[in-house]
Amino acid sequence: MSERKKLLKQIQECDFVLYETALFLDTHPSNRAALQNYRKHQLKRRDLVETFTKKFGMLEHDDFGGGISWSWVDSPWPWESEKEA
């Protein structure tokens, strides 16, 4: 697995935990364990995204870190299959 894929997978896993925890918090808004779990993964995600975007470009517009090219337009797009990506 390339470094890009490995890092992206870690971000996807982290985002899944964040989303799943958020959905749980919607119906359990004062669950302390869930709130702590959200915070923990939120901080972890921040580090992962910083590493990813420095090397491989943006995942969101807000990831733009300056420079002379808008990497948003670069492949791979998420639906592109293995071979092309």
Binding site: Q12, L23, D26, T27, H28, L59, H61, P78, S81
Partner: protein, 212 residues
């Protein structure tokens, strides 16, 4: 508003094309119990929803369904890559191909274009939540049927993920229904419609228990 995140919720990496299977899976994009309908159902129902926990649930699940639409589209796209005209004709995919080539257009497996008539936004919290619970089960059944037809492990892996999400959503909507019933008159929660009978609703909100 929404922001686009340039990645899938769960990776889709399919090596072998299979246009016949693509046509079946297409139903989870544009069919009666597909992800497009799911997303439209929840995102439209949420505006008149009177309780924050439930508005949040509808918003977040409705948003996740958009991500599932993208995953189904990726599956269909990858299953229809590099096909010859012969393969297209033999598989039965020619009926889709003639109108859409290998572009993504939301239709059911039988070729019926997506319609908002598949879903309901009734403006009554309890009615809508019951529709949502049923919708998650219907989507689960469709994924079960796809798993009965699909042999390719690359496809099955993604479909199993999506199927599992239906169960989680069903669980959350069940909790939403319980919250709604507790916040309304617990002895007769059909007494009035909290999305329409404003005066009654205000009284209910005033008297609501502090903790749920």
């Amino acid at each position: 508003m929404w922001k686009y995140d340039k990645k899938l919720q769960y990776p889709v990496k399919i090596k072998n094309p299979n246009p016949k299977l693509a046509q079946a899976i297409m139903s989870q994009l544009g069919g009666p119990d597909g992800e497009l309908g799911a997303s439209m159902r929840y995102l439209n129902q949420r505006y008149s929803c009177p309780f924050g926990e439930i508005t949040a649930t509808l918003t977040d699940i409705g948003t996740e369904e958009l991500a599932h639409m993208e995953m189904i589209s990726a599956i269909v796209l990858q299953l229809t890559k590099n096909l010859t005209i012969d393969e297209i004709k033999k598989s039965g995919f020619d009926q889709y191909f003639v109108d859409h080539t290998t572009g993504i257009y939301p239709v059911s497996a039988a070729g019926v274009p997506y319609t908002m008539a598949y879903i309901e936004s009734k403006g009554d919290l309890l009615t809508d939540l019951h529709e949502d619970l049923a919708a998650e089960q219907k989507a689960r059944t469709t994924y079960d049927n796809i798993l009965r037809m699909a042999d390719d492990p690359d496809v099955r892996d993604v479909i199993k993920f999506l199927r599992q999400r239906e169960l989680v959503h069903y669980q959350r909507f069940g909790e939403a229904l319980r919250i709604a019933q507790e916040k309304l008159n617990a002895k007769n929660y059909y007494l009035f419609n909290p999305e329409f009978d404003v005066k009654q609703r205000e009284e209910t909100l005033k008297n609501k228990p502090k903790k749920f």
